[in-house]
C-alpha cells in the first residue's frame, strides 16, 4: 500500500487492475480533458467558511462575556442555557457562548496554519523527490513509507503526551510537521507525470536551470491536488486538535478551543449536556464546510482525481 512500486497505491492499483481504466480514460501522458464543474456547493461552503472566519475575527465584539472570567464559581456553575447565558455555563461558571466564539479563533487558526505548514513542507519534499528521481527518490520515498506507517494520531499522542503543556505555536508546528506525508506523496506522483511532458523536456533541452523549471513549469501544475488536500486537511486538523485537547494534551488549560471545552467539562456530561453538544455542533458545521469545499474544489479543478486524502 505504501510502497512506490507500481500497482500498490490504490489509485495506481485500480488502473493496473484495469478496473478504473475505462474506455474514456486518456493515456497517462495526455493532458486530461478539463471539464470545470462549479457547483453551488462550492459557493455555499466558501460562504460558510468566510462567515466562520469573520466570527473568529470579531469574537471580542460578539462575545457577551470575557471567555475566561469566572463570575460566580458556586452560584453560576454548570447553568443550563438561559437568556443571560444562551449556551449555558461550564463548571467554572464561564459563559459557554463566549468561550466557543473565542475557541473558534484558536481552532480555526491552529488548523489553517498547521495545514499551510504541512502543505508547504509536503510540496517541497514531493517536488524534490519527484524531480530528482533515481536513488534520491528511492531513499526519500522509503523514509516517507516509514513516516506514513506511523498512525498520525499515535505519533501526536506520543509527542504531545511527553511535551505537554505546549504553547499554541508549538502545537501548530507539531501538527503541521506530522501532516505533510500524504501531501508529498500526491505531489511526487504528479511531478513524475509532469516531468515527462513535452514543455518540461523542452525547457530542459534549452538549458533552463532546474529551479526555474520547477518554479515556472512544475509547481503550477501540481498545485491542484495540494489545494484540494489542504481544504480537506483543515477539516481533519480541526477534528484532530479537538481530539487531542479532549485527551488533555492539545490547547493549554485556560485558553478555550472547541476541543479544550470538552476536556474542561469531561467530568459529568450526563448532567451538563450543553457542554458536550454545542462545541461538537460547531466542529461538525466547520469541518463539513471545509470537506464540502475540498470536494467541490476537486470537482471544479480536476475531475479525474481519485485519491481521497483522509487520515485521522
Amino acid at each position: 500500500m505504501r510502497s512506490p512500486t507500481p500497482a500498490s497505491a490504490p489509485a495506481e492499483r485500480l488502473a493496473a487492475s484495469g478496473v478504473a481504466s475505462a474506455v474514456d480514460e486518456p493515456p497517462s501522458d495526455a493532458v486530461p480533458a478539463r471539464r470545470a464543474r462549479i457547483t453551488s456547493a462550492l459557493w455555499w461552503s466558501l460562504a460558510l467558511i468566510a462567515l466562520l472566519c469573520l466570527i473568529a475575527l470579531f469574537a471580542p465584539g460578539l462575545a457577551p462575556y470575557d471567555p475566561n472570567a469566572q463570575p460566580d464559581i458556586i452560584g453560576l456553575k454548570n447553568q443550563p442555557p438561559s437568556f443571560a447565558h444562551p449556551l449555558g455555563t461550564d463548571q467554572y461558571s464561564r459563559d459557554l457562548l463566549s468561550r466557543m466564539l473565542f475557541g473558534a479563533r484558536v481552532s480555526l487558526s491552529v488548523a489553517m496554519l498547521a495545514v499551510l505548514l504541512a502543505a508547504t513542507v509536503g510540496t517541497a519534499y514531493g517536488v524534490i523527490a519527484g524531480y530528482l528521481g533515481g536513488r534520491f527518490d528511492a531513499v526519500m520515498m522509503r523514509l516517507l513509507d516509514a513516516l506514513l506507517a506511523i498512525p498520525r494520531v499515535l505519533l501526536l499522542i506520543a509527542l504531545l503526551a511527553l511535551w505537554s503543556p505546549v504553547p499554541l505555536v508549538a502545537l501548530i508546528l507539531i501538527i503541521g510537521f506530522t501532516g505533510w506525508f500524504e501531501v508529498s506523496r500526491l505531489v511526487r506522483a504528479e511531478v513524475l507525470s509532469v516531468k515527462q511532458r513535452e514543455y518540461v523536456v523542452a525547457a530542459r533541452a534549452l538549458g533552463t536551470p532546474a529551479l526555474r523549471i520547477i518554479w515556472r513549469h512544475v509547481l503550477p501544475n501540481v498545485l491542484t491536488p495540494v489545494l484540494v488536500a489542504a481544504a480537506l486537511g483543515v477539516g481533519n486538523v480541526i477534528i484532530l486538535e479537538a481530539g487531542l485537547s479532549y485527551l488533555g494534551i492539545g490547547t493549554r488549560a485556560p485558553t478555550a478551543s472547541w476541543g479544550s471545552i470538552f476536556y474542561d467539562g469531561s467530568d459529568a456530561f450526563q448532567a451538563t449536556w450543553w457542554i458536550a453538544l454545542f462545541p461538537g455542533l460547531a466542529i461538525i458545521i466547520t469541518v463539513l464546510a471545509f470537506n464540502t469545499f475540498g470536494g467541490a474544489l476537486r470537482d471544479a479543478l480536476d475531475p479525474h482525481q481519485l485519491a481521497d486524502g483522509k487520515s485521522r
Binding site: M1, R2, S3, T5, A7, S8, P10, R13, L14, A16, S17, G18, V19, A20, A22, R142, L143, D145, A146, L147, A149, I150, P151, R152, V153, L154, L155, I157, A158, L159, A161, L162, W163, G235, I239, A242, G243, Y246, L247, G248, I249, F262, F269, Q270, W273, A276, L277, G280, I283, I284, V287, L288, N291, T292, G295, L306, D308, K310, S311, R312
Partner: protein, 322 residues
C-alpha cells in the same frame, strides 16, 4: 509472486524498525524523563538519580538506543511506572480487548460501507443516492470522540438501552454463566464498535460507490444484461464482484483510522483496551507505556497493510502471476 512477497515482507520489517527508532528518538528528545515529574514530592533528588541509574537513563544515548532496540525485538517494551508492571504484560492483557473491539468494528464498517456504497451506485443520481452521500459526508466530518460521547449520552444514559461504558458488568459478571458473560460483553461492545464502524464506513462507502460506478458501464456488464440476466444477478454476481477488489486495498488505509480512533472511543466508553490504558498513561506521564502502545499500534498498522496487500495478491490473478 514469491519475489513480490519477499520484497513486501522486507519492507514491513524496515518500516517497523524505523517506527521503533523514531519513537525512541521522539521520546528522548522530549524534556525530562519518567523520574523528573515535578508534581511528585515523595521522591528526593537522590532517589530520582538512583532510579535513573537503575533504569539506564544516565547511559549514553547510543547505548540506550541499542538496548532499547534489543529489548523491543524480544518483546520487552519497558516498565510502566503508573501501573507498576511490565509494559509487555500490560499489552498482553489489554491487546486482545482492543483487537476484539477493532475486528468487530472492521467487519461492521466494511459490511455497512460496501452495502451502502453499492446501493448508492446502483441508484446513481437518485434522491436516495444524494441524501446518503450527504449523510456519509456528515459522518466523515464528526470527531470520533464526539460521536462516542453522543452515543453514550443518548443510549447509555437518556435511553439506557445499552450499558454505559466498561467491558463487563462490574458486579454481576463474575456470577454469570458462560453464555451470560458472552452476552454481557456483547452488550458492552455494541456502542463502541458501532461508533468506530460508522466513522470508517463513510469512507469505504464512498470508495465502493466510485468503484462500482467504474465497473457498471463496462462491456461485460452490458453482456450480462444482454443475455437476459436479472438486474440483481448483474449487479451482485458480475459487477460487484469486480468492484470489490479495489475496496480490499482500503483495509490497509482504514486501519490507521481505526487504531487512532480506539484511543478516543475507548476513553469515552472506558473500554479497558490499549487505547484506554494509553490515554490514562498520558495523564500520568508514563513514558514506556505510551511508547509501547505507539510501537504496538505501528506494528498493527504495518501488519494490516501487509495483510491487505497479500489479500489483494491472492484475490487478483493478474498479480499472482508475477
Amino acid at each position: 509472486m514469491r519475489r513480490y512477497l519477499a520484497a513486501r515482507l522486507a519492507q514491513s520489517v524496515i518500516v517497523v524498525f524505523l517506527v521503533t527508532t523514531i519513537s525512541f528518538f521522539l521520546i528522548r528528545l522530549a524534556p525530562g524523563d519518567p523520574f523528573s515529574f515535578v508534581g511528585d514530592f515523595s521522591m528526593s533528588q537522590a532517589v530520582r538519580n538512583q532510579l535513573r541509574a537503575q533504569f539506564g537513563y544516565n547511559r549514553p544515548l547510543i547505548e540506550q538506543f541499542t538496548l532499547f532496540l534489543g529489548n523491543v525485538a524480544r518483546g520487552r517494551l519497558g516498565y510502566s511506572q503508573s501501573m507498576h508492571r511490565y509494559v509487555g504484560d500490560v499489552m498482553a492483557e489489554v491487546l486482545p480487548r482492543t483487537l476484539l473491539l477493532m475486528s468487530i468494528a472492521l467487519v461492521l464498517s466494511f459490511a455497512i460501507g460496501i452495502i451502502v456504497g453499492a446501493w448508492q451506485a446502483v441508484r446513481r443520481g437518485s434522491w436516495f443516492d444524494r441524501s446518503l452521500s450527504g449523510v456519509l459526508l456528515l459522518f466523515y466530518s464528526i470527531p470520533d470522540f464526539w460521536l462516542a460521547l453522543m452515543a453514550l449520552l443518548a443510549f447509555g444514559y437518556w435511553l439506557p438501552i445499552f450499558p454505559a461504558g466498561g467491558m463487563t458488568d462490574q458486579i454481576m459478571h463474575e456470577y454469570m454463566s458462560l453464555g451470560g458473560r458472552i452476552r454481557d460483553v456483547a452488550a458492552h461492545l455494541v456502542l463502541p464498535s458501532l461508533t468506530l464502524a460508522l466513522l470508517s464506513a463513510a469512507g469505504i462507502a464512498r470508495y465502493q460507490r466510485a468503484a462500482l460506478l467504474d465497473v457498471l458501464p463496462q462491456d461485460f456488464v452490458r453482456t450480462a444484461r444482454a443475455k437476459g440476466l436479472g438486474e440483481r444477478a448483474v449487479v451482485l454476481k458480475h459487477a460487484l464482484r469486480n468492484a470489490l477488489l479495489p475496496v480490499v486495498t482500503l483495509l490497509g488505509l482504514t486501519l490507521p483510522t481505526l487504531v487512532g480512533g480506539t484511543f478516543f472511543v475507548e476513553k469515552v466508553f472506558a473500554w479497558p483496551g490499549m487505547g484506554y490504558v494509553a490515554a490514562n498513561a498520558i495523564q500520568s506521564r508514563d513514558y514506556d507505556l505510551v511508547t509501547g502502545s505507539v510501537i504496538v499500534g505501528g506494528i498493527m498498522v504495518t501488519l494490516g497493510s501487509l495483510l491487505a496487500d497479500l489479500l489483494y495478491a491472492v484475490a487478483d490473478p493478474r498479480l499472482r502471476a508475477r
